[in-house]
């Protein structure tokens, strides 16, 4: 007891000391997130066949600084008694996941420890954190940025990538330069160019026909005016062995390439955006052996699916995942990458017009199509050539229209229609193709200043795979702090009687200021959970889950 008193007294002294320590403590900022679940057996979704019914992921982040030049960051994560279902087994117990020191002045930014970085659009390098997906591929090492002047900046880095609480064995080196050629006297135009290099060294795998190091080079330009913009990026990847059935072969070593083009036209009330992208053998992992791992670990570059990120649950059943890799599964299933495009149109129908009504109306159209590369594939000799133009087997396409209309200060409506084609055989390397139509209507009604009701009705119709689905969601916001909901997804036409399952969920949230607490009871549909164009598989489960998001100081 006495020891404890002394300990607390010491803390007190430490806190009220006007030294450096107290400056650090004074400037301390924190955030805390906790996601927990208690899984139960369910006659419909099956028994819980894993260890630990109660599971919890916890993240405490602390930041502080001394003056304007020195920053510190520490993130402690705890997975006790174990991590939520389908997070990597490398996330276990408690440990330090992020620790860094940073020095900043007008010209220099130097970071030692774990850091996040992105070159260009991330196609050559991106390290980031996404707790929903269990991704934290921060690099531990040195990150140095130097702004030579307003026109030229330089970023360099080296280190090893985080993998759970461990680090991958491969090394990453990177260099990025950005040049701003914009004319200062004319602010209506900007012109920016960039060059990047990323090298990955992995001595865990070796062969006679390839090096330990794989190099990627990229060049990009970005032009922008008041009503028009355009950007292009080109990437080359040096020879890297292709993983086949979990192994590498000396006679199957290929280069990779990417081409990205985006352009748009904008004026008040209308926006149009078009993107073309071609990827060939572009995946890069900080350890070659991590290729295709189901936890998205050791990813060096970011190659998201360029499709619309849907908000509605039924629109997230057949989700496209980008296909950047070479895969020779069988003579009838050969992939070497993807090529395709996406178009977005946003249009605002004016207030007080015939269609616009008093408040106007928002329209959003999205269309995308993605195909395998066109080429000659020799399955027996593991050999292929591809054509830059042209396209192979179709992976995916969709077209959607969203109409948002405010009728009065109390009533809002959103109508959403989506037509999808999903080639399950090629995307998931299973079998089947799915053509589907999804229709959603959402109504929000404000009862008074802080009370509102939202009703969402969805339907997916298809003759393929598991046939039709219906879904609904009802949300009641009974004050600015409290919200309750009930929702259900029902695969009512599933050909298997025991798979006609109601994936119901009930729950609520309380949020005030920066504090947010949620609780949910229900069934999780098995399948892909996707955020930011990256997906992971989750098993079906039933249980009670709750989360806390807060900040202590």
């Amino acid at each position: 007891m006495k020891k404890k008193k002394i300990f607390y007294l010491l803390i007190l002294i430490f806190f009220n000391n006007s030294s450096l320590n107290s400056q650090i403590l004074n400037n301390l900022r924190s955030s805390y997130e906790s996601y927990s679940a208690y899984y139960i057996d369910d006659s419909k979704t099956g028994d819980f066949n894993y260890e630990d019914r109660f599971r919890s992921n916890n993240y405490l982040n602390l930041k502080s600084n001394i003056g304007a030049s020195w920053n510190f960051e520490l993130q402690i994560e705890s997975y006790l008694p174990s991590s939520l279902l389908n997070y990597s087994p490398d996330f276990k117990n408690t440990g330090i996941s992020t620790f860094n020191l940073e020095y900043i002045n007008d010209k220099i930014n130097l970071k030692l420890g774990n850091f996040y970085e992105q070159f260009g659009s991330g196609m050559i390098l991106r390290s980031w954190e996404d707790k929903d997906l269990g991704i934290n591929n921060s690099i531990r090492g040195l990150n140095f940025k130097y702004r030579i002047n307003d026109k030229i900046s330089l970023t360099s880095l080296f280190g090893q990538q985080k993998k759970g609480f461990k680090y991958s064995k491969g090394f990453i080196v990177g260099l990025d330069t950005e040049f701003d050629f914009s004319n200062e006297t004319n602010e209506n135009y900007t012109f920016i160019a960039g060059l990047s290099f990323v090298g990955r060294n992995d001595d865990q795998t070796s062969g006679t026909t390839y090096h330990n190091t794989t190099n990627l080079y990229s060049a990009r330009i970005d032009f922008s005016s008041l009503s028009f913009y355009s950007n292009i990026e080109i990437i080359n990847k040096s020879k890297d062995p292709v993983m086949q059935f979990g192994d590498f072969y000396d006679d199957f070593v290929e280069e990779g390439a990417a081409f990205f083009f985006n352009s748009g036209f904008i004026k008040n009330g209308i926006g149009v955006d078009f993107t073309f992208r071609r990827l060939e053998n572009m995946a890069l992992f900080s350890e070659r052996n991590a290729f295709g791992n189901s936890y998205n670990q050791s990813i060096v570059n970011y190659l998201p699916a360029l499709t619309k990120q849907h908000d509605y649950s039924l629109a997230n059943i057949y989700v496209y995942q980008s296909q950047p890799n070479v895969s020779f599964v069988d003579p009838n299933l050969i992939k070497t990458g993807e090529t395709g495009m996406q178009l977005d149109i946003y249009y605002f129908l004016k207030e007080k017009s015939f269609f616009g009504g008093q408040y106007g109306m928002n329209l959003a159209l999205n269309a995308s199509i993605w195909n395998n590369l066109d080429g000659n594939f020799d399955f027996v000799n593991k050999n292929y050539t591809t054509n830059f133009f042209g396209k192979g087997e179709k992976y995916f396409s969709e077209i959607s229209l969203e109409i948002r209309k405010k009728w009065s200060s109390k009533l809002d409506n959103t109508i959403f229609y989506l037509n999808q084609f999903y080639n399950k055989k090629y995307i998931e390397e299973k079998f089947g193709k799915i053509n589907s139509n999804i229709f959603v209507i959402e109504t929000t009604y404000k009862l008074n200043k802080n009370k509102s009701l939202k009703l969402e009705l969805q339907h997916l119709s298809t003759k393929d795979d598991n046939k039709n689905w219906s879904a609904f969601g009802l949300e009641y916001n009974l004050s600015s702090a409290i919200s309750l909901y009930v929702s259900d997804l029902y695969n009512y036409q599933n050909p298997k009687q025991d798979k006609k399952i109601h994936y119901y969920n009930v729950g609520g949230s309380y949020s005030k200021g920066i504090n947010r607490y949620t609780v949910n009871y229900g069934r999780q549909r098995g399948g892909l959970v996707c955020t930011g164009g990256i997906c992971r598989y989750v098993p079906e489960s039933t249980g009670l889950s709750f989360s806390i998001t807060t900040s202590f100081f």
Binding site: Y8, S30, Q309, Y347, N450, T549
Partner: protein, 165 residues
């Protein structure tokens, strides 16, 4: 002085310190919608309030909030308040930011926080997230948005801009 006393003192020390310590907007490089790097400090409204609204093109409540503010923003602007909509869209969706804001006729300043450096530096762990600053000093933080909450934010802005004058 027993243990509970000490604990209480610690809590109070923590608490008062958290109030006393001024938490400011950090100096971070973010991108303009044209792709130019600028310092976050230069986006502040030096003599008034700045609202930073962290959003993304795929976040429906975020868009609902910005739509709701947009509909009344002429009234807000009379109180010397600036709104900066910080898009946290990454490479997957950031190309949609410009057409969306033009299609919606939002006239807010928009920043692109593509790898979420700005968001991370402010310890933001979910969007929509709203921060209000008076000069550089953060005076308001809120996570989430429900229909009607823009009125609460407006009242906060009104109260604090009146206090200033």
């Amino acid at each position: 002085m027993n243990l509970n006393h000490i604990k209480l003192t610690i809590i109070i020390v923590f608490f008062t310190q958290s109030i006393l310590s001024q938490k400011n907007i950090p100096s971070i490089y973010v991108k303009t919608i044209e792709g130019k790097s600028i310092n976050s400090i230069s986006t502040l409204n030096k003599n008034g309030l700045t609202i930073y609204s962290f959003w993304a093109t795929w976040c429906v409540p975020c868009i609902n909030e910005l739509d709701a503010i947009h509909n009344e923003f002429d009234k807000w602007k009379e109180h010397n308040v600036k709104l900066v909509a910080v898009s946290t869209d990454d490479a997957r969706t950031k190309r949609r930011v410009r057409p969306l804001i033009m299609g919606k006729k939002w006239n807010f300043e928009v920043l692109i926080d593509e790898n979420q450096n700005f968001k991370r530096s402010l310890n933001i762990n979910g969007i929509p997230y709203t921060i209000v600053t008076d000069g550089e000093k953060i005076i308001y933080r809120k996570i989430g948005y429900k229909p009607g909450e823009e009125k609460d934010l407006y009242e906060f802005v009104l109260k604090n801009s009146i206090n200033k004058n």
